[in-house]
Symmetry: C2
Subunit: 312 residues, 2 copies
């Protein structure tokens, strides 16, 4: 393998960002490209908001709110407070002032026909991020949630406004109305020495990426090692609704179920030490400590995963 290994990572959400930080802190530094879920993106108060891209950028730039895992550390909410107090705004989505600055820039760029990919590159560079951050698509591909109680909802309606409480009946991934695989995403995957699927929510964060036309097929055909890391530890998710959704979809809450879900697109799976071992024909597995409670553990998981794959 190359000295400066090229790694492409499918990623979304807070758990994914933790691994990203581990990878970005490896020595020697690999060449990293993050292919980020945009199924959560939405328009709110006239602003184009990309939660997963922002979480990743703030994390890599060292600006993320450490308590929440998203948003900007020590951010104020003067604009939001004014909206609520002066104009009775229904503030179910938290907008910090510093966060708003980025939403404003992005929205203005979108109105000026700048692509989300170009805008993201520009901002990431401005934030001092050396890795490449690619939205999975420049075309909007919003994930929709269907529940018995609430019918069809936008992702943020489900995830933030209703705090992922409705029981999911079905998740509908958008296929971008015939949009093709972005050239830079294609390049990043094709030229990668290794592809990783971050320990993100498979159904909410990774599946939307796999729904980008051509991406799943490209991934399946790639000769490079492709490895996923379990988001399920000890029968539960570290954070967020992964386990709850698995139950609602009638699935066993286990790393095995996740590995099964990625069948055909991965050839390696990093399970957690705490989980009961399982074996699939044709799938390499290992068991590592995947709980990323601090930076050394994030770096360790990244290094151990790479070391394991290098030994194949």
């Amino acid at each position: 393998m190359a000295l400066r290994q090229k790694i492409a990572v499918l990623i979304g959400g807070v758990g994914g960002a933790k691994l990203a930080l581990g990878l970005a802190n490896l020595q020697p530094t690999p060449q990293l490209t993050f292919i980020v879920n945009t199924g959560d993106d939405f328009w709110h108060l006239g602003l184009k908001i990309c939660p997963d891209i922002d979480t990743l950028m703030y994390t890599l730039a060292g600006r993320v709110n450490p308590q929440l895992g998203w948003g900007v550390a020590d951010d104020s909410t003067h604009v939001l407070d004014s909206l609520i107090r002066r104009y009775a705004w229904d503030a179910w989505f938290k907008l910090g002032d510093q966060d708003l600055a980025l939403h404003l820039l992005r929205t203005a760029a979108m109105r000026d026909q700048v692509s989300l990919t170009d805008f993201t590159s520009r901002i990431a560079r401005r934030m001092g991020i050396e890795s490449t951050i690619l939205p999975m698509s420049d075309v909007e591909m919003p994930t929709l949630i269907r529940s018995r109680e609430s019918g069809e909802m936008s992702f943020q309606e489900y995830f933030v406004r209703q705090r992922w409480q409705p029981a999911i009946q079905q998740i509908q991934y958008d296929s971008g109305q015939g949009a093709s695989l972005p050239a830079r995403v294609d390049d990043a995957l094709t030229s990668a020495d290794m592809v990783m699927i971050a320990p993100s929510n498979p159904w909410l964060s990774i599946a939307p990426i796999l729904a980008v036309p051509g991406l799943r097929e490209l991934l399946a055909a790639l000769p490079a090692p492709k490895v996923a890391i379990t988001p399920v530890i000890g029968g539960d998710a570290v954070k967020g609704p992964t386990a709850k959704i698995m139950r609602e979809l009638g699935l066993a809450v286990s790393a095995r179920t996740v590995a099964c879900y990625y069948e055909g697109i991965i050839d390696g799976f990093v399970d957690d030490l705490r989980n009961p071992p399982f074996h699939f024909a044709g799938l390499r597995t290992t068991r590592l400590d995947t709980l990323m409670t601090d930076l050394p553990r994030k770096v360790a998981l990244a290094r151990n995963t790479l070391d394991w794959v290098r030994g194949w």
Copy 2:
């Protein structure tokens, strides 16, 4: 005249807002409709900004920054600071956080096809403003400035970014591409017991209103008294570029010039005590203290103007 007199006021800018506050504080309270210049409106950072409407609303709601005469009192600039510090934003237009909240709401409303008139009514009501505030048009009619040094500029480019320093060669008023006079503006003028032209900049604030198709003709034909108040006191403007522009356009800096500019649409003119008297055939004039340095003086000018017209 009716006990509760109906007054329609053509208005724009900080000087106009001072008179508006005087009128709104009269006892008995007249029924006030402000027809506001929107020639200064612009899009900035993807936001729809209406400086004259906002100045009027903040003034009437008691929220205006008393030092500046515009913007919100004690506003913070967390978003703007973040834009500058984090993203090297060229911050020539000041955006306070509370002000931003209003721009965001307006922009979202515009995107949802809400008219500027409806949005403004809703917000004014929310701010506790009893007067009616009508944009001169729901169609964008941007004023353009031409100068020898800088060529053609948007109004805010001239006024804010270049601090009205370029020498004006020509001012171009937009006629709204065949837009018709808004029904509510038509009603307000037609049903008014009196029409006032605020002591705003005639060339920058009032002329754009007069350029709304049909408005000048309607005004000329109205039987109600129509009275303008001088923005020129003692050979200068109280604030802003009125006198400078007059010189650049080759005009004498005098109240007489302003009265002349309004010829055919006013039948009364309130001059300032400090100015040399003049007489035009067919134009009633009076001389009052028009310097509105505090609230009592604002109310006094409003009351004295009304009393004078009532005595015709």
